[in-house]
């Protein structure tokens, strides 16, 4: 009797595994999504996944594309390119037309390369790579690919946004960046655009730090203070940014912190109330943008997520990605990667905040408006229950970040 119950449980287990792994109805348009979902960077993938899922539900409620619904299929890449490529293989095995990835330019480079080769070698089973946040400029310049579409401004554009947001009074800045490809390109681009747009600004310090190795940033703060800088500009993310800002606030340094990533999940908590009015972040979207613009529909959309998940909705901009996909699939008339890719090229869409956006044809880089948020008390929607939130300090329109590119696009015949 007992033995039989054991066997039936075993059967259940097998079925469970088969049920999870097996494909459900082919009626959906599958988007493979790969980011770290476990390990030390799990929060990145986790936060994205939540927000993406909400957006997909929203898009599907509006009819999906060609009568089919979008479905997100997550793959854990553990921040490793090899695992991302295994995910790519999995996606192509199941004939998924899209693979999406948001975090890590190393993984993005691997995916672009992998997708190019796969599509060359398997013309009957192609896949499009949607880049939702890997921002190395190379990816849409030297390494640009017909199959790669980037839906976030790249580091050079963000650098320009940051420089444009720098107030007139600020004339002395200090640069700190992480010592790897991304940090080095942020460093380079900040220098370029400071020289171009703000020749009056003097760079009093320029520093590279080893990635994720520094536990105490106080010595840097000492150095920065000694240099007389008024603002610190950094592309740091994760602990390298949190600890840097924390150390600055602790030492009572009179600085403004211009960051790329302070608004992402975990940042506001780590910075805390001490960062009031000091920390600025370059962002594609902030929850207070909609109420500030008086856009009720967008505010409702954002609030819906907050109410549902008790979690900030910093990535509402991803909605634009799926609106592009929806339009492109409808325009292509079939779930076919090649056709969809051609449909996406040069497409323009008015995003949910009401700004014009374009998927540039030459390099497959999205050109959209961008914001600089300031971490402040007294905003409508606060971040991570800190009582402080991101107020829009500057809005940079798409035309202002429309930087030239060096891409030589090769299109399939």
């Amino acid at each position: 009797m007992r033995a039989r119950s054991g066997i039936s449980i075993l059967l259940g287990l097998v079925l469970a595994i088969a049920g999870m792994g097996g494909a459900s109805a082919q009626q959906t348009i599958k988007v493979a999504y790969t980011d770290p979902l476990s390990g030390p960077f799990a929060q990145v993938g986790d936060a994205n996944l939540k927000q993406m899922q909400y957006i997909i539900d929203f898009i599907n409620a509006k009819g999906g594309a060609l009568g089919k619904k979008f479905e997100l299929v997550p793959f854990d890449n553990k921040s490793q390119p090899s695992d991302a490529l295994i995910a790519l293989k999995s996606a192509t095995d199941q004939n998924m037309p899209f693979i999406m990835q948001c975090s890590g330019s190393n993984i993005a480079a691997a995916l672009i390369d992998g997708v190019n080769k796969h599509n060359d070698r398997n013309p009957d089973n192609r896949i499009i790579y949607l880049n939702c946040g890997a921002v190395a400029p190379e990816l849409t310049n030297e390494q640009c690919s017909f199959w790669h579409f980037r839906f976030d401004l790249h580091a050079a554009m963000k650098a320009e946004v940051m420089v444009r947001a720098l107030p007139k009074e600020t004339t002395k800045v200090y640069l700190i960046n992480q010592d790897y490809l991304f940090g080095q390109s942020v460093q380079r681009e900040l220098r370029t655009y400071l020289a171009k747009l703000r020749p009056d600004v003097q760079i009093v310090g320029d520093e590279l730090i080893p990635l994720g190795k520094i536990k105490d940033f106080s010595p840097y703060i000492t150095k920065i203070k000694a240099s007389g800088a008024q603002a610190l500009m950094t592309g740091n993310w994760g602990p390298d940014m949190n600890l840097l800002i924390k150390a600055g606030i602790d030492a009572g340094a009179d600085l403004r912190y211009y960051t790329f990533y302070a608004h992402l999940a975990g940042g506001p908590t780590a910075i805390g109330a001490g960062g009031d009015g000091r920390v600025l972040s370059v962002m594609s979207f902030g929850e207070n943008v909609a109420p500030e613009l008086g856009n009720k529909e967008a505010e409702e959309f954002t609030k819906g997520f907050r109410d549902k998940h008790k979690f900030d909705f910093s990535a509402a901009g991803y909605r634009t990605i799926f609106e592009y996909l929806q339009a492109a699939v409808n325009k292509a008339g079939a779930v076919d990667a090649t056709k969809i890719a051609f449909a996406l090229e040069g497409m323009t869409i008015r995003d949910f905040l009401g700004f014009e956006t374009t998927m540039r044809k030459d390099d497959h880089q999205l050109i959209s408006e961008y914001f600089v948020g300031s971490f402040k008390k007294g905003v409508k929607y606060d971040a991570e229950n800190t009582g402080l939130g991101w107020a829009t300090a500057a809005t940079v329109l798409a035309k202002d970040v429309d930087q030239p590119n060096t891409c030589k696009m090769k299109r399939p015949r």
């Binding site: 986790d46 997550p74 295994i86 691997a110």
Partner: protein, 425 residues
């Protein structure tokens, strides 16, 4: 003929491995499953890597926390060589690219080995850990050799094949990996039977005694380390061919840890242990991680269970059966095993269910996933699934205890008989 008889296991393995991917063959579309092939290629590469790690840990008693450095540097070397071949600077058949990786590994094994093998035991482990940290940091900082964050990409389709194969499909690459894995494994197996291999064992057991029979234990360690670097480099070279990219994570501590885990789980007692361990580890990481967010937890639990109850590894467990098998009475264990299976599964299921429920309520739910078993969505807020999990875990554990006791009795009796039989013959 005797060669065939002696090596039948290798041949059988080869045939099985060649046939295995066809289980996943998509007959409707007429193509192999890229996922399955890549995963199996990964197993092949990691098996070479684990075996080379075992040349240090199992054979020479050297615990390295930086073995991936040799693997990764070999991979970088192979990648640069491929790019040179592609550019027409040098000529090398695609089939021999792993050898280029091996030579790279050999070189760095020699250089880094000079530092690391000055010490043994914990000091050796710590030096390798330091070297691992330094090299992985350097891999991000120096663009010239490491290509920075983006790594070095290659195109394996070089048209320099000796066999006229273009290596466009994963299947062709898989066959190449298989061939190299067999060559490397055979070489490493033979290496254990050479004077150096034996003296590595000797120095592991008693390094002082090795000195007094004329050997310099440090020299033994150094050469062994260099050779292990060679084989790790071969693995790296194959890695490059599979993924066509090599990035800094190939030299990372996590990769080194993987080898350690594979070797320990498989067992150092027998040559094939690390291969077995690799299969388990890769399937856990690449297979289970697709199914569950909590896979790291399962890895952790697996280690603890292995370390506490089966420190001899999987091959050790299998090896325990040898006397009974020789006595020809293995069949009598079948029933006790079958009886223990349901409660064991019950415990497993209860545990997995519990972990998944917890993980789901705390993390997964917000990601918009549905917790589904056999297509039916389970409501994680209702007490029913939690109750089932707890009951399964509790009852299963009690039941397993009982069966384990019965099993133990049967096992001891059989062992006793087997011993007597062996003594009599």
């Amino acid at each position: 003929m005797s060669l065939l008889r002696r090596n039948w296991l290798w041949l059988l393995a080869l045939v099985v491995l060649l046939a295995f991917p066809f289980l996943f063959y998509d007959w409707a579309k007429g193509r192999h499953s890229g996922f399955a092939l890549t995963l199996m290629s990964e197993i092949g590469v990691m098996a070479i890597f684990a075996l080379s790690f075992n040349m240090l840990m199992g054979q020479a008693g050297l615990l390295s926390f930086g073995h991936a450095v040799l693997f990764g540097l070999g991979a970088y070397c192979a990648a640069h060589v491929v790019n040179l071949v592609k550019a027409g600077t040098i000529w090398l058949p695609t089939e021999l690219v792993p050898l280029a990786g091996g030579l790279g590994g050999l070189f760095f094994g020699f250089v880094l080995g000079w530092l690391a093998t000055k010490q043994r035991a914990t000091a050796f482990a710590m030096i390798t850990m330091g070297l691992g940290e330094l090299v992985s940091a350097a891999a991000l900082m120096f663009m010239g050799f490491f290509g920075g964050e983006g790594g070095i990409t290659i195109d394996r389709v070089m048209d320099t094949s000796l066999l006229g194969v273009r290596y466009t499909s994963p299947w062709q690459v898989y066959c190449l990996v298989l061939a190299w894995a067999f060559i490397a494994a055979a070489l490493m197996r033979l290496q254990t039977q050479t004077p150096l291999g034996r003296m590595a064992n000797a120095a592991r057991d008693n390094f002082e005694r090795a000195q007094f029979v004329g050997y310099d234990p440090r020299r033994i360690r150094w050469i062994q380390f260099t050779l292990a670097g060679f084989f790790a480099g071969i693995g790296g070279g194959l890695y490059v061919l599979i993924y066509e990219i090599v990035t800094f994570d190939t030299v990372s501590a996590a990769k080194s840890a993987n080898a350690l885990l594979a070797v320990y789980i498989g067992g150092t007692g027998a040559f094939f242990g690390p291969i077995l361990g690799t299969i388990v580890v890769v399937l856990l990481q690449s297979g289970v991680s697709l199914l569950s967010n909590a896979w790291l937890l399962y890895v952790g639990v697996l280690f603890i269970v292995m370390v506490m109850y089966a420190p001899i590894g999987l091959v050790g467990l299998i090896g325990l059966h040898a006397p009974i098998w020789r006595a020809g009475r293995l069949r009598e264990l079948l029933l006790p095993y079958l009886r223990a299976l349901p409660p064991a599964l019950m415990v497993l299921l209860g545990f997995v269910l519990l972990v998944e429920l917890t993980s789901f309520t705390t993390i997964g739910a917000a990601q918009g996933k549905h917790f589904a078993i056999a297509g039916r969505t389970i409501d994680t807020t209702s007490p029913l699934p939690w109750g089932i999990a707890l009951v399964a875990l509790g009852l299963g554990a009690l039941w397993l205890r009982r069966e384990a006791r019965a099993f133990r009795l049967r096992w001891d009796a059989l062992m006793e008989d087997a011993k007597r039989q062996a003594g009599a013959s």
